[in-house]
Amino acid sequence: MRGTLRAGLVGSALALVASTFVMISSGTVVLATSSAAGASTQAPLNLANEQGLLWPCTFNPFNPSDAAYSVGVTYETLDFVDALNNAKVTPWLASSYAWSNSNKTLTFTIRSGVKWTDGTPLTAADVAYTFNLIKKNAALDVNAVWTVLSSVKQSGANKVVFTFKTAAVPFFYYVAGQTPIVPEHIWSKIKNPVTDPVKNPLGSGGYIMSKCTSENIQWTANPHYWQPGLGAVKVVNMPAFLSNNTCNEYLATGKSAWGSQFIPNIKSYYVAKKPGNSYWFAPVANVVLFPNLKVAPLNDVAVRKAISYGINRAQVSKIGEYGYEPPATQTGIVTPTFSSWSSSVASTAAGTSYNPSKAKSILTADGYKMDSSGYFAKGGKELALTIITNGGYSDWVAAMQVVSQELKRVGIKASVDGVAATNFYSDVYAGKFQLAYNAEAGGPAPFYEMRQWLYSKNSAPIGTAASSNWERFSSPAVDALLNQYTATTSSATQHSIINQLQMVMVNQVPVIPLLEEVDWFQYNSKQYTGFPGPGNEYAQPGLYNIPDWGVVLLHLKPVK
């Protein structure tokens, strides 16, 4: 799982033993309270974010490995798009934006009065420079914005005009919400912006990276930040953790007040340890069983449907994921996050998501017959499949074992193959699997994940790496729907398209969503207030979400 142990057996064994010890010691643990430092100086906020490496201390905002430690805190984006609240746009470095020219032109008005931390004003020229820098260096184009952009030009003193090749409304999220703006007067002097480590990032954000060692990154609040009243936490530390269980110990012993960890038995291991310890796992995407549509028998929609109806997702969630990740639905809409997009027609068409007798009848109608060993077979060939999953994620392997048992009950033989991480991803990308359990990145609306799943141009022939659409789905009608969505800003049209795509999900079962991917988040409400939560979903609090965690940090207030 995202955020869980990455070294397979050793890791799981360690976690098991570690959790036992901490449980045994629950009465005697001396909590090292970081808030006990006294009233005069504010104690630093320590973050618990296991990334499995010593910090390289590089902060290149265009390097996807570094972005999480620079975008949001130090570098800012034009707008903030809230993925947990209907893609709500909060103006940030741009004070306003407007679509024109049948949604092919996007004009931003850049906020006045924003300064880089060296005192130089942030201008429209910096914004235009940033995007043209990315154009010149394909390695910086992490969100592939230049696949849809044709030009970015400054217009007048404070406007920047983005011209798109075709209408590309959803790309607003990547252009305005995900691309960090960098200062021209610094970056124009950098020889190679791809390999430059950017040891001292200079941005406009609320926090300045003040010192970095292999073991810790420290930020201090920007005293001249352009949004007064934000950034009450003065000093922030993010220590480097090599393994999940050491990071969990750090959280459980009270050294950290904000974590984004996968913690087995979170109630006894973490919540019970200290007053105020809380967690909130907001669903953001799906974890999905990808059937290889290019190979028999999974090119048969009846088999895919039977699999979808044959799995008790609640059981998979409970046993495989401690119930942290709620069951998903075949319509592909993540609830409650995107509930407003859910189509009642598609939900009705899908019916009860767990329906073993329906699974069996679908197979029977398709010409399958139960053989003597209790499995369905057609033409003398037993329905036997292999599910591959990342062997380094112990919870994913556990979840798939439950799936295997569930499928056995409806007469489908499914074996689980926990593949070493590198082999797993190269197999998934190249389409070398029958069923693969994996997740997409998603986005601030269901469209993004649907497009990652279903857009034929994202895919590739078997044997060639595909960045997404790993099941190799291809439908001109669906492509047309997705293209139509990118051309419209009308909410009604968008909803109608997503409704139709949900019907595709139910009728053609291109992929089988099993569980909902969540944003891992633990916090102590007695030490800090202002964290997001149910009813106050203003940003994704997981420490890997950019620019979200920087936004959350700005809103925190230490409790006196």
């Binding site: 064994a13 570690a18 045994i24 490496l53 390289p56 490995s65 390695a139 073991e215 050491t246 190269s426």
Partner: protein, 327 residues
């Protein structure tokens, strides 16, 4: 002299072979660094980033493998180790230096201490077989070394760090400080090193005790030891100059090899104590298909082990003249 030339020749051939294997094996793995990097983002990065990473890492450059190999050998010989793909394209030497000093300090010192203490205890307990020392220390340490390391490690964490609060829980030093050559910082490092060092020591020492004790028992029964006793030499002199010196020989090669492997770190220690070191870095570089970092670490380990064996060969030759030539 001929002995030395022959050993040097062997050293060079072994180095070349290691260099070559080191280049080809990682490239036989499926996938590439860009795919592996995407995997480490755990789905939190736009899938479109894969293309950007491929460009940044120079994947799909379509250079033939033999050409890459020649370039690699040339670069390695001139000390150009490349940039690490999993560490934000930092030079490999910079990345390794983040971890290597910690491994050398912790594992190096504990390996030497373990060997010295283990051999001494082994020698003495064989010399006074059935004595108090012999009936307590060897069995205790051998039993301890039979436990899995991480079990001992976590027990130590729970007892000394979590419950008694005697030592820090994790990290190589107080994580929010910046390393500096001050007494305060050195003290802090030592404070953080005690627990990991003790656990390595008590789990490693059993092996040295056992082998030394066994060697010693055989040697003590030799005629020249009886002769020495008969001559009326002091027991201490017989113990170290006659018996110990000879019993040590088989252990010396083992010691040399473990010294060489100091450079590969101690992965479980790093895991349990969140201690910086090359062991975890090596594992991570393999998982991330970070060819430059992986190759450099393997190369470093190979060179260290080969050098250690070379030196131990010379040491053996000095201690035991019979090994110098077959005649």
């Amino acid at each position: 002299m001929r002995f030395l030339v022959r050993r040097l020749g062997f050293l060079l051939v072994a180095l070349w072979a290691a260099l070559t294997v080191n280049f080809f094996i990682p490239r036989l793995m499926p996938g590439n660094p860009a795919e592996a990097m995407m995997a480490t983002f755990r789905g939190h990065v736009n899938p479109a980033a894969m293309h950007a990473l491929e460009v940044a890492f120079g994947v799909n450059t379509h250079e033939s493998l033999p050409r890459q190999y020649i370039a690699y050998v040339g670069n390695t010989l001139t000390g150009h180790l490349g940039n690490s793909t999993s560490y934000s394209l930092l030079p490999v030497s910079t990345v390794i230096m983040k971890a290597l000093p910690w491994s050398l300090g912790l594992v190096g010192i504990t390996t030497i201490l373990g060997f010295v203490l283990g051999t001494t205890i082994g020698a003495i307990s064989a010399w006074r077989r059935g004595g108090a020392l012999d009936s307590v220390l060897p069995p205790v340490f051998i039993v301890i070394s039979a436990f899995p390391y991480f079990w001992i490690g976590l027990l130590a964490v729970w007892l000394f760090a979590l419950t008694l609060n005697w030592f820090p829980l994790q990290f190589g030093y107080t994580e929010t400080t910046v390393p500096a050559l001050t007494w305060g910082f050195v003290g802090d490092v030592l404070d953080h090193a005690v627990l990991p060092a003790m656990t390595i020591l008590i789990t490693a020492i059993g092996g040295w005790i056992l082998t030394m004790r066994n060697n010693m028992i055989t040697v003590v029964a030799e005629d020249y030891v009886k002769m020495a006793r008969a001559k009326g030499l002091k027991p201490r002199r017989i113990l170290w100059q006659y018996a110990g010196r000879n019993a040590l020989l088989p252990n010396l090669t083992g010691f040399a090899i473990s010294l060489g492997f100091v450079i590969s770190g101690a992965i479980l220690v790093e895991y349990v104590f969140n201690y910086p070191g090359v062991g975890f870095m090596l594992l991570q570089s393999v998982q991330d298909q970070d060819y430059p970092l992986m190759q450099s670490l393997f190369l470093l380990i190979t060179v260290a082990v080969l050098m250690a064996i070379f030196l131990s060969d010379i040491a053996t030759a000095i201690l035991d003249p019979r090994t110098r030539s077959s005649s």
